[in-house]
Amino acid sequence: MPPTHLAAELRLPANWLDYGLLAIYFLFVLGVGFLARKSVKTSLDFFLSGRSLPAWVTGLAFISANLGATEVLGMAANSAQYGVYTVHWYWIGAIPAMVFLGLVMMPFYYGSKVRSVPEFLLLRFDKSAHLLSSVLFAFAAILIAGVNLYSLAIVVEALLGWPEWVAIVVAGFFVLAYITIGGLSSAIYNEVLQFFVILAALIPITVLGLKRVGGWDGLTDSLTAQKGGDFVTAWGGTGIGSDNPLGANWLTIVLGLGFVLSFGYWTTNFAEVQRALSAKNLSAAQRTPLIAAFPKIFIVFLVMIPGLVAAVLVPKIGQASSGLEYNDAIPYLMGQLLPNGVLGIAITGLVAAFMAGMAANVSSFNTVFTTDIWAKYVKRGQEDAYYLRFGRLITVLGVLASMGTAFLASTFSNIMSYLQTLFSFFNVPMFVVFIIGMFWKRASMVSGFWGLLAGTVSAMVNYFVIYKQGVIDIPSDQGANFVSAIVGFVAGAVVMVAVSLFTRPKPIEELQGLVYGTKSPGMSEPAAEGDDAWYRRPALLGWGAIILAAACYIPFSF
């Protein structure tokens, strides 16, 4: 949940040293853009890094694109509000989906050589599914980029005193510059850089925060005393029918969050999948989400612990009397615990996280807009150089549009939570359409479009009509999201199957490499040297991540 407002007394004691560290970061970011420019000769270079990146780079970019600041601040806020339940978003709510993407779906994605997620739908279904998904995605990407930009502006204003419009314009300009100049390679390289800067920001906060409240035991003791024992467990209080602040039970957590919402995001959100598609061969592409799964398992501690610490230090956080919102958890701790120097690193990390979230959406937007919408429906058959130029132009326009939606968002304080919910709607129906399309050869050509439409509409109806009008009682927005996700999934699936039974399937020759059980004609490349090393085996990495995540639940489950 992005910050809609930060408390007034969060101003940080930043000095010239901290600003210097931030300025150095901006210089490096721009430098990466300029250095990457030499490698951009074709549209494939600009949109997909020429499909040439090593797995460690794409893997870290994959996790970094997800570590936007709305995620970091939002998950800390989640922890301050719901306690250790936050781990669900990182373990069951991410790892299985990431592993599924790497082991099962990537051979189809990468083997078919599609340049985007909607392009896969074009091949598997038809133009109507393609156009609908491209338009929805492009729209969503610009709005999310704008939300990231606006959230950055609020945070920077509260912490450093810069006026909102200054932060929007300055940050927007930097992202615009490095992506227009250097393309996806520049975005991905900067995401890798941002990953380490974000770690450098969060680790001191976590370490000092723990010290302040007396270590892990001191933390759990204080929280248990204030909020009850369930607050520090993952599953306590989640029996069906029992009451908990999240309004979810273990079933909606596992099915709603763990399966539907999570798979919808990780397997079909092009801002993520694009990072894997830019890898240099199938093995690297498969390993991208698998490599990313390991930091994902552990990063939860770096966002959850600060949230929990804030809940201890400010017992009434989130209520009017404390003057602090849940979203203020990490900024509050930065001001309380960090001296100048590390404070500058933390500020840089926060800014880096916002820029990573915005850049991932801008770089996926320009790809979908150019190769899926423009090149297929508006200006067909031009030379590649034309699409490369157009890609740069639409990047500039896309960032300007994001700045516009950022200013628009500033006029509504509540629209941001609606936007978050709406975007989770778009991911789930895409996932249904993909999963049925990938595993059921009989799914007909037009079923993709109808399934996508039905799933999206029914999830929205569930949220706006059934939840908001109180037809069914669900205590929290997050809980309602889980239910909407399940509704969207079921509706989309039912419609797809029904439509398929009455319409033409695609001929099997055209489904090669798109459906489970077929092989892509282009995928018989020999394995790269060294890719059969034991630590490069996708199955080992994938199952290793799942077992590790399951093991991490154990200390929090009893």
Partner: protein, 106 residues
Amino acid sequence: MSEFSEKDVQRSVTELETKSASAARLFDIRRIIGLLFVVYGVIVTICGIAPSDGSLDKAEGVNINLWTGLAMLALGLFFLVWLKLRPAAPPPPPVGMEERELGGDH
């Protein structure tokens, strides 16, 4: 209206791959990460060498600047050493439409 099929995608992307410059001319990011963290590490470590009482009190008595600075310096050096010991494979010679995945990994 002609169908856009899997074969069209394979053909256009494979063609672009042969003309692509990324593999040959994209710089190695390890140098940049290494450099940034060495710079950060040095600056923050210097802050930590003579900490004021105020900053120590704030940080629970932990000289966080020193520790963070040294950790970042170590990270930066790790990347530079990794780059030195396992430099990027030289770009493959330009080829036609054949597969060219022969180089080692980073």
